[in-house]
Point group: D2
Chain length 459, copies 4
Amino acid sequence: MAKKLWGGRFSKKTDPLVEEFTKSIDVDYKLAKHDIMASLIHTKILAKAGLISCPEAKIIYNGLVDIKKKLDSGKFIFDKNAEDIHTAMQNELEKKIGNIALKLHTARSRNEQVVFDIKRYCIFEGSNIDKLIEDFVRQVEGMANSNKDVILPGYTHMQHAQPIEFKYYILAYAHMLKRDSCRLNDALKRLTYPLGSGALAGTSIVGKLYNEAAQKVYKGMQHPFFKVVENTIDNNSDRDFVIEILNTLAILAMHLSRMAEDFIIWSTQEFGFIEIDDAFCTGSSLMPQKKNPDVLELIRGYTGEIYGNLVSVLTMMKGLPLTYNRDMQLDKKPLFSSVKIIKDELIILTKLIKSVKINKLNIEKQLNDESLYATDLAFYLATKKVPFREAHEIVGRMIKDSLTLNIKIKDMNDRELKTYSHFINKQVIRNIFNPKVSVNSKKSFSKRNLPIKIEVCQE
Amino acid sequence: MAKKLWGGRFSKKTDPLVEEFTKSIDVDYKLAKHDIMASLIHTKILAKAGLISCPEAKIIYNGLVDIKKKLDSGKFIFDKNAEDIHTAMQNELEKKIGNIALKLHTARSRNEQVVFDIKRYCIFEGSNIDKLIEDFVRQVEGMANSNKDVILPGYTHMQHAQPIEFKYYILAYAHMLKRDSCRLNDALKRLTYPLGSGALAGTSIVGKLYNEAAQKVYKGMQHPFFKVVENTIDNNSDRDFVIEILNTLAILAMHLSRMAEDFIIWSTQEFGFIEIDDAFCTGSSLMPQKKNPDVLELIRGYTGEIYGNLVSVLTMMKGLPLTYNRDMQLDKKPLFSSVKIIKDELIILTKLIKSVKINKLNIEKQLNDESLYATDLAFYLATKKVPFREAHEIVGRMIKDSLTLNIKIKDMNDRELKTYSHFINKQVIRNIFNPKVSVNSKKSFSKRNLPIKIEVCQE
Amino acid sequence: MAKKLWGGRFSKKTDPLVEEFTKSIDVDYKLAKHDIMASLIHTKILAKAGLISCPEAKIIYNGLVDIKKKLDSGKFIFDKNAEDIHTAMQNELEKKIGNIALKLHTARSRNEQVVFDIKRYCIFEGSNIDKLIEDFVRQVEGMANSNKDVILPGYTHMQHAQPIEFKYYILAYAHMLKRDSCRLNDALKRLTYPLGSGALAGTSIVGKLYNEAAQKVYKGMQHPFFKVVENTIDNNSDRDFVIEILNTLAILAMHLSRMAEDFIIWSTQEFGFIEIDDAFCTGSSLMPQKKNPDVLELIRGYTGEIYGNLVSVLTMMKGLPLTYNRDMQLDKKPLFSSVKIIKDELIILTKLIKSVKINKLNIEKQLNDESLYATDLAFYLATKKVPFREAHEIVGRMIKDSLTLNIKIKDMNDRELKTYSHFINKQVIRNIFNPKVSVNSKKSFSKRNLPIKIEVCQE
Amino acid sequence: MAKKLWGGRFSKKTDPLVEEFTKSIDVDYKLAKHDIMASLIHTKILAKAGLISCPEAKIIYNGLVDIKKKLDSGKFIFDKNAEDIHTAMQNELEKKIGNIALKLHTARSRNEQVVFDIKRYCIFEGSNIDKLIEDFVRQVEGMANSNKDVILPGYTHMQHAQPIEFKYYILAYAHMLKRDSCRLNDALKRLTYPLGSGALAGTSIVGKLYNEAAQKVYKGMQHPFFKVVENTIDNNSDRDFVIEILNTLAILAMHLSRMAEDFIIWSTQEFGFIEIDDAFCTGSSLMPQKKNPDVLELIRGYTGEIYGNLVSVLTMMKGLPLTYNRDMQLDKKPLFSSVKIIKDELIILTKLIKSVKINKLNIEKQLNDESLYATDLAFYLATKKVPFREAHEIVGRMIKDSLTLNIKIKDMNDRELKTYSHFINKQVIRNIFNPKVSVNSKKSFSKRNLPIKIEVCQE
C-alpha cells in the first residue's frame, strides 16, 4: 500500500486484509476535483494566516493546479493502493513538489476534507440533475403541445373514470418533476462548505489565525456556500444532506417509475395507446417477434436500488455516537449510485418521450365506453337541483341496466330514459356522452387554460 | 356496515370480509376535524357558486359546526362500521339535517377530500412538532448553560480524541434539530389545499362556477395554503408530501437515536459521566439492583419503526399508474405512527435532559489521559515551523514509547523529551497537557464565543 | 399505573410520561394466552424442582387455569395501566390467590418470558398461515381445473410472447405459495422454547434443581420445541426468528402483489380478460359507473407495510450490544402487523379467486395476434436443421414485413412465404399459427401432464 | 456495440444510450463460468435429443471447454460492449468455432440461462460463506478456550447485570452464526437447476425430445440441484432465492454488527476490556495518538448496504406481473454486493478475533461492583422460602441504602444486615459476593458443561 497520512504511533504494520477492507479509493476517487479545490482554498487560508510563507503557498498552489489540469484532461491515473482520495492527492503532491507538500496538512483533518468534498459533489451534481429535470419538463411540454387535441380515458383504480385531455394528463408528470426540483434546491441551499473544523474540535493553537483568515478568503469567493462552521462537532458528524438528497432522488425515481408503468401499460397489445420507437426497445434471443420496452422496465426496476441506497445510509447512521465514526465512510457509494441512475434515467427518458408515437385510433375506440360520461350525466342532474347523491344513484342504475340488458344508453329511447329521470332524454345523452364536451366542461378552471409552460422552481 | 357513498351500479352486496378489509375508519378517524373543515369550506364555495341556495348552505354549515363542537369536546362516538371518515361524517350530517346533507356531495370526490384532510393534518402536526423542537433546543441550551465549565474528552471512533467543552458538544444536537425544523418547514411550505379536483378531472359542468367561487373563498381565508390546484390529476395522485415528511422525521429520529446512544454509553458503570434520574429509568423483575435507561433505548429502537414507515409509503407508491389507486389509502397509518413517536420522543427527551446529573469527577478522571493532548502538541510543533506531518510523526512516537515503556509523558525529563524534538521540554508539556488550555486555544473561532442561543429556522 | 414487578431500589416514582412511553400492554396483550402457558409450565418445573411446595403449585396452577378460561371466553379485561402483559398476568394472579402468587416469580425474568411468548405466538400463527396457504393453493387449483381449456397469451415484458394454458399460468402462483410454506416451516422448525434463561445468565443457585426439573417436564410434553437452551445469553438477545418470519411474509406478500397486479390489469376495460364479482369491488362517491378492484389494490399496497415491518426490526437490531436491550421490545408491533395482513389477504384472495369470471371471448381475440406463434415457427425451422439464430432472423424479418406492409402472415401466398425460407408455405403457417397446437407441442414435458394437485411442503 | 442475439424484427438501430443503459455485462461478467456450465449441459442435452449431431456437439463442447480454461486462467478479456454475459460467451464461441455456434441457441432463452447462472452462483458462494462461518465459529471457540477463566460483568440495557464467564458470552456469537449457517443451507436446498424453460412456455416442438434428454443428462450428474422444472412460468419469474439469501446475509450482518459494537465499546479507554492489535487498527491524519477500530466500525456500517440490498430486490419485485420483466435484471448487483461484503467481513473478523488481547485487570476492577451479586442474594433468600418478589424488594432496598449512604454492603456489619432479613449476615455476603461462586452456581445446567465445540448445521 502507498504511504499513509499517519503511522508514528503504530508498532506493527497494518494487515494487508485490513488495508484492502478499509480503503475507499475505489469509490471516492470520484471526489478528486473537489478534493483539490479544498486544498486550494486551504492553501490560501494558510498563507493568509501566516501559517505557511507566501513562496511556500505558491509552490503548493501551483502543484495543486497542475494536478487539477491532469484530472481535467482525464489522463490522471489514480493510485489504487492509496487509502483514500485525500491520501492519493497528498501523495501526488509530494511526488511533485517534495517535502513542502507536508505543510499542506497543517490544521486540517480528513474528517472535514471529506465533508467538503461530498458537499461540493452534491452541489455540482445537484445542479446537473436540475438541468436534466428542466430538459425533461420541456420535453413533456413538447409532447403535450404536439398532442393538444388528443383526449384519452382517465383512470382511477385502472378503471375508466372520465375523459381527460392527453396534454393535461402528461403534464401531471411535469408538475411532479417540478416539485422534485424545488425539493432538491431546498436540500442544496442548506449546504455550507466547512473548513477549519479539524477532526472534531476545530483547529487548535493556530485556530484564531486560521479562522480569521478563512473568513477573509470565503468573503472573496462570494459564494453562499462558504460560511463559517457554527459547530465543528455537528459539522464532522453530519450526513443529513446525503440522506435528504437520497430521499429527494427516491421521490423522483418513484415519479419516473409511475410514468414508466403508464407507458408500459399503454404499449401493451391490449391498450395499444402508444408505440415506443425501435431505437428504445430491445428484442428476445428466443422469440423473434419481441419488441420490449426494456428501458421503461429498468427505470421502474431501478427504483429498488434507489430506495435501497436511502435505507443504506439511514441504517448506517442509526445510533452512531458523536463525532466521526468510520461507518460514515460508507455514505458515498449509495450517493454516487443514486445520482448516476437518476441522471441516466432523465437523459434517456427525455429522449424516449420524444420518440413516442400516439395511436389515436386505439385511444378513440376506448372513448366509446359510455361509462366515461356517467359522472357528467350526474353533474347535469345536479344542475337540475337533484341532490348529487340521488343523481349518483340514478346514473348508477342506468349503467347497471345497460350492462345487464346489454343495451347502450345511447340506444335507449326517450321513454326508457325518462324512467330514470324526467330530466334525461336522447338529446341530453347525445350532448353529454361526448369526449370534447366532457373535457371542455372542466376547462373553465382558469389554470387549465394556462399555456403549457411550467415554471421550474427558482429559489 | 353503515350506508355507503356509492352503490347504485352494484347488483350484489359487498362481501363482509371485503368491507372489513377495505374500510379505513380505524385509522382515518383521526382526520375528523380536518374533514369537517373541508366540508365547511366546500359549503361556502357551493353557496357562493350558487350550486346550493343560501338557506341550504346555512343548514349544512350549522350541522357541520355542531359535529365539530362534539368532536372538540371529545364526546363524539365514531361509527366504526362506516367505510371511512368521509362517509362517517357525511352519515352523521344526514342523521342531523336529513336529505339536505346529500347536496354537500355536489362537485366533490373522496379522492380530493382525503388529500385535503391529510395535508391539513400535516400542517397541524408539523407545527406541533416544530414547537416541540423549539422546547428541545431550549432545554439543550439550558443543559449547556448549567455546565459551562465542564470539559470532557471528545471522541472519534469512540476513542479519546481531543478535550471538548461539554456545552459545545451537547449543542451539536441543537444544531441538528434546528436543521430538522428547517427541513420540516420546507416540506410544509410546499403544501397547498386542494378543493375542486374531483376524482381526477376537476369538477365538470359546474366547474367554472365552482372554481371561481373557490378562488374568492380562498382569498377570504388569507392563508398561503389555499391555492388553486394547477393540475388535478397530479393533485389526486400525489403523496410526495407524506414521504417528504416521513423522511424528515426519519432524519430527526436518527439524531435522537444518536443522542440516546451517547447518553446510554455515558451512563454505563464504566463511563459514569452522567446519571439519569430515577423517574426516567425502570428496573428488572429479576435483578433487584437494575436501573435501566429504558427511555433512551426505546428512542434508539423506535428509529426502526420510523424508517419502516418511510419504506412502507415509498414501496406503496412505486410503479403506481395515474391517478388515484386504492393502494394510496395506506399512507396514513405510517404517517400517524411516525408523528406520534416523534412527538412523544421530543417531549420525554426534553424532560429527561433536564433531569440528567453530570458526574464531573468521573469525567475529569478521563482528562488525565495524555493522548488527548497529542494533537495540541503537534500543533505547537507546527507553529515552530515543523511541517505538520513530521510533527505528527514525532508525537506519534512519543505516545508509542509512553505506552511501551509504561511512563507518562508528563514524567519524562527534559533530556528524554529533547530526543523527540528540541522544541519540547517539561514546561512545554505542562503548558499544553491541560484541558482548559486545549479548549481555549480553539475558542478564537469567532462563532465559538457566541451566546448559546440557537435560532430555530424561520422561513 | 398498576403495581410493578420491580421498584425496591428506586427512591423516586417513575415519571408518568415514562410509564406511558415504555409500557407495552397495548401491543403485547395479544400474547396473554402464551404468557399463561409459560407460567403453567414454569409452575410445574418449580414444583418438580422442590422450589415451591406441591400445595402451593396447585393453588398457582389453578389460579392460572382460571385466568386462561376467562381469556378463552373473550371476557377478560386487560389492565391497560399495567407495564406489560407479564405484569398484567402476574397482578391478576395476585388478585386471585394472594401472596402465593409472588412465588411464581422465582427463577425467572421477563426477558425470557417474552421470548417464550413470542415464539409460541409464531408457532401458532405460523401454523394458521400454513393452513390458509393450503386453502389458497386448493382454490388456485380449482380455478385451474374449471378453466382447463382456456389458452391465453403469455407475456414477457408485458408484451405478447407465446400462447399459454391458463391453468399452467395460474398454477405458477400455487408454486410460489408452496415455496412460502416451505420457507415458513423452515423458520418454525428452528424455534425452541426457552425457560430457565433468567435475565441473561441462567437461573442461579437454584439453577441445577430448576434445569433438571425442566428437562423432565419438557420430556413429558413430547413436543420438539421444548428443548434445553444451549446459550442463555444468545437466547435472550436473539430476535432472528422474528426477522426470518417477517422476511418470509414479505416474499409471500410480494407474490400476492404480483397476482393482484395481474388481476388488476386483466380486469381493465382494455384487457377485459376477467371480471371480479361485485361482492369484491367497491364504487366511487363521485363517479356512478365505477366498479373498482379495491381489494386487489390494497393487497398490492400492503406490500409496503409488510416490507416496512421487516426494515423496522432489522434496523432496530442493528449494532445492539449483548444481551437484552429495551429496544427489542419493539419487535412485536411489526410482527403482529405482518401476520394480520397476510392472514387477511390469504382469506380474502382465496374467496375472491373463487368468484372470478373468465371472459373467454376477449382472451380469444388476443390469440389472433400472429406474433404469438413466431417462436413456434422458428422452432419448426430449427427442426429442419436451420441454425436457430438464423431461423430467429428469418421469422423476425417476416414479422417486420407483416407490420410494415400491413399484411397478415396467414394472408401471404406460397410465393411470398418462400422468399423467407423454402421450408415455409401456407400449410405450414396454418398448422403452426394455432394456439392449441402451440400449447400441445410443449405438453410433452412429462411434468406438464401431472394432475393439477400441488404438494404443500411437508417437512 | 457487439453483435446481439436478436434483431431481425427491428427496422432501426438501438440508440447508443439505450445500449449503455440496458446492458449488464459490467455486472454479470461474474457469472461467466456458470454460463459456460449451462452451455455445456445444454450441448449434452441437445446431442442426446438428436437436435444437433454428435460431431457438432463435440465441436461446440470443445469450444466451450477452451473458453472455460481461459476463464479459469484469469486471462479471459470480457467484451464490455456485449449486451450481457450470455451474449459475450455466445459471441466468443462464434469467433472460435464459427457458424456451428449458432446451433447452441436451439431451444433456449436468456431468461432461463440467467436463472441457471445465478442459482449456480448462489450455490457456489453459499458454500464458500458456509466454510467461512465454520472458520469464524472455530476462532470464537479458540478465543473462548484461551480465556476459560475470565469472568466479566454481563450486561442488560448496557448496565451491569450478573457475572458471566467470558467464554460463555463470546460463544453466544458462535451460536448466532451457527443459525445463520442453517438458514443459508435451507435456502440453498430449495434451489433447483432449470434448463428447458425457454422464455416462459418451455421449449416447443422439440420440447419432448429436449426434456427426455435433459432428464437422462441430469440423472448422470447425480446432483440434487438438477431437477425437472415443474412450472416454467414460475421458474422464469422467480427471484425468491435471491431475496431469501439477501435476508439470510442481512441477519448475519446484523450479528456481526453486534459483535463489532461490543468490541468497539470494550476497547474504549473507559472500558478497556480488550485491545485490538495494531495490525487491525488505523490512525488519524490529524491526531497522532489515535488508534481506531476502523475494521469494526466498517463491519457495523456495512449493515446499511446489506439491508439496502435486501430492500432493493424486494422493491424491484413488488407488483411485477408474470412472467419475466427486465426489472429483474437488477437482482444481481445487490446480491453480488452482499456476498462480497459478508465474505470480507467473515475473513477479517476471524483474523481480528485471533489478535484480540483481553485486559483482565480492567475487567476484574468492574467485578467489584456489588450490584452484580444482587440477584444471587435474592436467589439465596428464595431458597430460604422468602417469596421471590419479597426477596427482590429486600435486596433492592439494600442497594439503594448502599448508594445513598455511600457504604459498601460488604462493609455493613451483621446488625445492619439483619435489619433487611435474618437470613443475611456478613458470612452470607462474603460467600455470595464472589464472581466465581456466582458463575459456578449456574454451571449446573447440563449444557453449560459441554465442551466448547459447536456443531455447525448439517442438513
